[in-house]
Structures are given as structure tokens and as C-alpha cells.
């Protein structure tokens, strides 16, 4: 049976290598895209620079606190510069002209409104051309929002307790809800600090793994159309041999594809993906999951053309939701939750962890386990479908 398996695998490999398109999809495109992202988004120590505009129509304690905190922040020193702007329109114009990367707009009376327990509203203007500045502005506003919530709650509680209005401010501040003393929580650059070339490089690797491994399973449908699959199944070999011969080649090519993308990212931009054995383990687990999912697709469609279409749709949806195309921290909360349903999401999370300072396999054991579980579940469903469709 080993000889039959090797014979089928050899033909599959030869067919795939003869097909120039396959080589392009497996190696050229992911490497080219990863390289482009590397060149566009920088290497290990990217020159992260951002200017955040401040529109202070409030002239109160909160804007002053923001200025103090950003200026004093060690993490932001040298990376983030504040620039005062007179109005929201002026901020929008500066943003359009790429003079600033984002802007925080404090409306008139904001500090007073918060002090009276009525809350307030801050606007953030961002530009897709400066994701770093957007990350900083949102981090600042998130922190202000938390403070405003606390302050509003405290003021309302004191008022309900019957304290006269004139004594509320003093009472609240004396009991710890001092308000504008802003402290930026954690590292406000957490979303932008991981080398984006690693992020997009791994994203491309994760996306194209689907296409590469999917092509082999799609090949089963082509063989069924040609009649060669039936000829094999009528011969003296176990029914799983044609399937296994193709699966082995698809898996190996997809693994080569993701590893070449990884190597190109490291060699071209000097990016660091993290501990190599751990990175390899994550990539292997991802390819397994991608193989199982494309196998499931193959088991549910009738023709190879249908398989092409569905695999493409599934791959891009997984890539989008899983952060292979758009960084997950830029996605709304619902989509960030949806990322947990995709192998790309877990792969992205694991590789981000490793690139961001994770030390090894132990740090990514969870995502690897989830990827393996996805592979098992999809693979089990696929086998049932493949048997029904006489592909196995």
C-alpha cells in the first residue's frame, strides 16, 4: 500500500509543480505580499511616529490632564507628539493633510459637565493612514471614559444621599473620585507595537495555506470528473489511498508555503517571528486546520469549480475575521469575538504572542490545541462527507 500511496503522491506533486499557477499561489504571492508589507510597514524597530491633535474647547482639567500624562509617558516619549488645534474643522483639515494622525476633541464645558455628574462626550478623529496615532488617541479616550464613568457615578450617588450641590465636588474629590488625574493604563501602543510586517506576513501565510492545501482536495473532484478516481477505486488498493496521497502532498506544500513566507519575512525585513520551534508548531497546526476545513468544503460540493469558489470565499472570510487582512485590534468587538471561531484568529493570536515577546511553546499551547481541535472536528465531518460522495 505504501507503493501505491507514493505513486499517487508523486503524480500529485508532479502535477502541482507542473502547474505554474500553483507555485505562484504557494510561494510567489504570499512571499511578495509579505515583502511588500514588510517594506511598507517597517521591520523589527519601526520608526513609530505619530502626531495627535488636541482641540481644547473645554479649557478645563481633563484636557490639561491629558497633556500632562502624554508628555510624562515613558512609552510615548519620542513617538507621540501633541499639537494644539483651534477647532474640530481645523483638526479635520490637518488630518486630511496628514499633518496629524488623529485628534481628540474636548467640547466646551466638558470638565464642568463631568464634575456635575452629567457625563460628557469626546470625539476622536482618526485616519487609516496613521493607525498608530489612532491607537494612541483611542487609548487616551478609553482612559478618560473610565474616569468619567467613575466620576459620574460618584456624583450621582452623593446627590442621591442628599448632600447639598455646593458640597458635592469637594466630597467626591475627598473620597477618591478626583477625576482628571489621568493615568494611561498599560502600554497604549500595545496594538501597534508588534512589528506589522510580522503581523501581515503571518496573515498572508495563514490565508494562502488554505489555497495551497485546498488545491489538493479539489484535485479529488477533478479525478472524479476524469474517471481516474473510480479507476483507482476499482483497483486493488485501499479506498483511502488516493485521498491520502493527495492530502500528504497538499499538506507538505502548504507547510512549505507558510515556512517560505516566514523565512522571506525574516530575511527580507529582518523581522522576528519569535521562538522558531514554537512558530513552526503554530504553522503546522494552522495548516492542519486549513487542510481539514478545505477537506470539509470538498466533501460538500459537487464539482471542482464549485470547490474553487467556496474555498476562496471561506479562505477570505476566515482571513478577514481572523485578522489576516486587517489587524484584529482594528475590528469591532463582535468581529474580534468572531475571530475566535477561525483558525486564522488563533494563529494570528499565537504568532502575535510569540513575536511580541512570548518565550516558547508553552505560551502558545492553548491556540495550538484549539487549532488541532478545529482540525479534528472539521476533519471528522469531512470524512463522513467524502465517503458519501464516493471520494473516499
Amino acid at each position: 500500500m505504501r507503493r501505491a500511496l507514493l505513486t499517487i503522491a508523486a503524480l500529485e506533486l508532479r502535477t502541482r509543480l507542473r502547474d505554474g499557477t500553483a507555485l505562484v499561489i504557494a510561494v510567489v504571492v504570499p512571499v511578495a505580499l509579505a515583502t511588500l508589507f514588510s517594506l511598507a510597514l517597517g521591520g523589527d524597530d519601526p520608526p513609530l511616529k505619530a502626531t495627535v491633535g488636541i482641540v481644547d474647547l473645554d479649557r478645563g482639567e481633563f484636557p490639561a490632564s491629558v497633556r500632562r500624562e502624554v508628555t510624562a509617558s515613558a512609552e510615548l516619549k519620542g513617538s507621540v507628539t501633541l499639537r494644539d488645534l483651534p477647532s474640530r474643522d481645523a483638526a479635520a483639515r490637518a488630518l486630511d493633510a496628514d499633518e496629524i494622525g488623529s485628534a481628540i476633541v474636548f467640547p466646551a464645558g466638558f470638565s464642568g459637565s463631568v464634575g456635575a455628574g452629567e457625563g460628557g462626550r469626546i470625539d476622536v478623529l482618526t485616519s487609516p493612514r496613521s493607525p498608530l496615532a489612532g491607537v494612541v488617541a483611542r487609548a487616551v479616550v478609553d482612559r478618560i471614559s473610565a474616569l468619567v464613568d467613575a466620576r459620574t457615578l460618584a456624583v450621582r450617588a452623593v446627590l442621591l444621599a442628599g448632600v447639598p450641590g455646593g458640597q458635592v465636588k469637594e466630597l467626591v474629590e475627598r473620597n477618591g473620585a478626583a477625576g482628571p488625574a489621568l493615568t494611561l493604563g498599560g502600554d497604549p501602543l500595545a496594538g501597534g507595537k508588534v512589528d506589522l510586517s510580522v503581523y501581515y506576513g503571518s496573515g498572508m501565510a495563514a490565508l494562502f495555506a488554505f489555497f495551497v492545501v485546498g488545491a489538493s482536495f479539489r484535485g479529488l473532484l477533478t479525478e472524479r470528473k476524469l474517471g481516474t478516481l473510480d479507476r483507482m477505486r476499482a483497483g486493488p488498493l485501499a479506498v483511502w489511498v488516493p485521498f491520502a496521497g493527495k492530502a500528504v502532498v497538499g499538506f507538505a506544500l502548504a507547510l512549505v508555503s507558510v515556512c517560505v513566507t516566514w523565512a522571506a519575512s525574516v530575511l527580507v525585513s529582518g523581522a522576528t517571528w519569535g521562538d522558531p520551534p514554537a512558530v513552526l508548531a503554530v504553522l503546522v497546526a494552522h495548516v492542519l486546520a486549513a487542510a481539514a476545513i478545505t477537506m470539509l468544503v470538498t466533501s460538500r460540493v459537487r464539482t471542482d469549480a464549485q470547490a474553487d469558489g467556496v474555498i476562496m470565499v471561506v479562505s477570505f472570510v476566515m482571513a478577514f475575521l481572523g485578522g489576516s487582512l486587517v489587524p484584529m485590534h482594528n475590528l469591532p468587538g463582535v468581529l474580534q469575538a468572531a475571530a475566535r471561531l477561525t483558525p486564522n484568529g488563533w494563529t494570528s493570536a499565537a504568532l502575535t504572542e510569540l513575536a511580541g515577546g512570548g518565550t516558547g511553546l508553552a505560551d502558545v499551547a492553548g491556540p495550538i490545541a484549539v487549532l488541532c481541535a478545529i482540525a479534528l472536528a472539521a476533519g471528522g465531518l469531512a470524512v463522513a462527507g467524502l465517503k458519501k460522495g464516493m471520494l473516499l
Binding site: 507503493r3 505513486t7 503524480l11 476524469l226 481516474t228 479507476r231 476499482a234 483497483g235 486493488p236 485501499a238
Partner: protein, 328 residues
């Protein structure tokens, strides 16, 4: 003629031989559609067995079950005495399957296709080159072995399709309508090749809806219709189902009534009647042999201007058994 058999062995006076291929009680349904029901037959070693039926009669479904592509809902198959369900690998090693459509890789050459399937079906690297040459010679494609299959004509592709099934020297060759869509010259070449295989002692199951092919190649025929085998026997046995009498049609010039009376008196004429103004149809025993006597009999009262002898054949048998022609 014998009824459809469900026995797994054929007997002679003193010995019991294991059939090359036997099936019994095969059934397959798809929802409410009964594709095959209670199909059974036995092919002796060296025998060429035809499965004759119109499109949709159940031939391909039956073959799919015989080669293990479809699991029957009921019934079983043995190949050289080996149970296909119990020992599929051993049973399949004895079978050569030629699918209805050419099932090879168009981007590979003829030789590469044969090498691939030869390796797949267990031939060693050492014996494979020699066996490929033998098969190429057998199917008459040695000169085009290194051309890509995509450049072959339809007939050549059909021949290499057969060759791929012969590589592992099967005991039984199963051909599923191997001449569909090929030109007469290629069809003849294919049939000659099949005849050589049978002459060499290979057992054969040949399905077709072409009566003349089955009559030419097979020494035993089953007629299948609506998923059931409705008759099984040698050509002569099947033809005898519609009677052994030939029909002779004569066109006469002269006194037709007198001529008819004289013809009825000829030995071997069973019945006679006028079928038109000057035409007579006779039911005879040995129609073509009687023609000289018939012409002499009417001498003096009429002249025979045209004759037509209609002998019973499988087409007539099929019509008799199913009420429709094979091409319906």
C-alpha cells in the same frame, strides 16, 4: 436457453469449476428508483459474457457493484471464488475494469498513464517497462506511446483506456460500453483486440447496447431491462425464444392466388398469406435454403420479381422480450 442463473458455479459431468466472475441477487436502489434488482449470473473461465440492454437498463450500475465502486443493497459478488465484500483487494486484483468514459490523465503520455496505473496496481519497477510494451503492442499504440493523451484521437484513447485495465494481467476484463462514440474503424479495431483477448483465454464481461458487438464478441448473453435480467443464454438459445421460423417475403408478377397455393404446398413452408396486391409472406423452416424451391414452384403461373428473407436475431428477441427496440 436457460433462465437467469444465480448459481456460483457451473458444472460439468465430473468436475466443478469456479466461475471467473459470479454475482447473485444484486440489488441497488436510489430512493424510490430501483436501479438494479435481483441480478445474478456466472461467467466461466475463458467465457465472453455480454450484458445487453438499452441505456438506463442498469448495466453500469451492475458493473459498478461488480468492481466494488458501489456497495449493493443486497446480493454478493465473487471473483475467481474470492468474495468481493470480504476480501476486496484480492478480488479486485483479479479484475480489469474499463470504464465507459476514458479514465486517464490527458496531460500525461500514453506510456506515463500506463506506468502510473501499473505501479498503482502492484507491478514492480522491473517488470513494468516490459509489460507496458506488451500492452502497447496489444492495443496497437506502440508508435504513439510518448504522445500526450490529449493529442490522441477518440479511438486511440479508447484503446489505451482498455490497455490500462490489462496491465496487471487480470483474469476477468470488464468493459462498460467500450465503443460508445467512436468511429466504425476504431470500433472494429477495439472489437478485434477484444476478440484476441478472448481467444487468449481471458474471461470477459462486455456491456453494450449495440447488438452486433455483443453477437460478435460474446458466446453468452444476458438481456437486461429496467434493472432486471430477463433472459440469459447463448445467442441461439435466446433467438429460439421467438421461434425458429424464418419469414420469406416474395413479390410476384402473374397469378398471385395460384402461386400462393403452389407455395403453400412446398415442403418446409408452414404458412403463407398475401400481404398486398402482389406480395406474399411465408413462414418457413429454413427460409434462405428454400428459395430455389419457392421460385421453381411458381414457375408457369407467376414470376418472382423480388425476395426478402427475415431470420430471427437478437434484435427480434429483444423486441419480443421487452416490447421495445434497443435504440428506443
Amino acid at each position: 436457453m436457460t433462465p437467469p442463473t444465480s448459481t456460483a458455479t457451473s458444472t460439468t459431468a465430473t468436475t466443478v469449476t469456479t466461475p471467473a466472475l459470479a454475482c447473485q441477487g444484486l440489488a441497488k436502489r436510489y430512493g424510490d428508483l430501483v436501479a438494479v434488482q435481483d441480478v445474478g449470473f456466472s461467467i466461466a473461465a475463458g467465457q465472453a459474457y455480454g450484458l445487453l440492454g438499452p441505456n438506463g437498463a442498469g448495466k453500469t450500475t451492475t458493473i459498478s457493484m461488480l468492481v466494488g465502486l458501489l456497495r449493493p443493497d443486497a446480493g454478493g459478488v465473487t471473483v475467481g471464488g474470492v468474495d468481493l465484500a470480504a476480501e476486496p483487494m484480492r478480488a479486485k486484483a483479479r479484475l480489469g475494469y474499463v470504464p465507459q468514459e476514458v479514465a486517464l490523465y490527458p496531460e500525461l503520455t500514453g506510456r506515463e498513464n500506463l506506468r502510473f496505473f501499473g505501479r498503482l496496481f502492484g507491478l514492480s519497477r522491473r517488470e513494468l517497462p516490459g509489460r507496458i510494451e506488451e500492452v502497447l503492442d496489444l492495443v496497437g499504440l506502440a508508435g504513439r506511446a510518448d504522445s500526450k493523451l490529449g493529442t490522441y484521437s477518440g479511438g486511440m484513447r479508447r484503446r489505451i483506456n482498455i490497455g490500462a485495465a490489462l496491465l496487471h494481467r487480470p483474469e476477468v476484463l470488464i468493459l462498460d460500453e467500450p465503443t460508445v462514440g467512436v468511429d466504425p474503424q476504431s470500433r472494429n479495431a477495439i472489437l478485434e483486440g477484444v476478440e484476441r483477448l478472448v481467444a487468449g483465454g481471458m474471461s470477459l464481461l462486455y456491456t453494450s447496447h449495440y447488438m452486433e458487438e455483443v453477437e460478435r464478441v460474446c458466446d453468452r448473453v444476458a438481456i437486461i431491462d429496467h434493472g432486471r435480467i430477463i433472459a440469459d443464454g447463448t445467442r441461439e438459445e435466446l433467438i429460439s425464444l421467438v421461434g425458429s421460423h424464418d419469414k420469406v417475403e416474395l413479390s410476384l408478377d402473374g397469378d398471385v392466388e395460384t402461386a400462393l397455393a403452389k407455395l403453400r404446398a412446398v415442403e418446409g413452408v408452414v404458412e403463407g398469406a398475401r400481404t398486398g396486391g402482389t406480395s406474399i409472406r411465408l413462414i418457413t423452416e429454413g427460409g434462405r435454403r428454400l428459395l430455389p424451391s419457392l421460385i421453381t414452384a411458381v414457375d408457369g403461373c407467376a414470376t418472382v420479381t423480388a425476395t426478402r428473407v427475415i431470420e430471427p436475431d437478437l434484435e427480434a428477441t429483444f423486441l419480443h422480450l421487452t416490447g421495445s427496440t434497443l435504440r428506443d
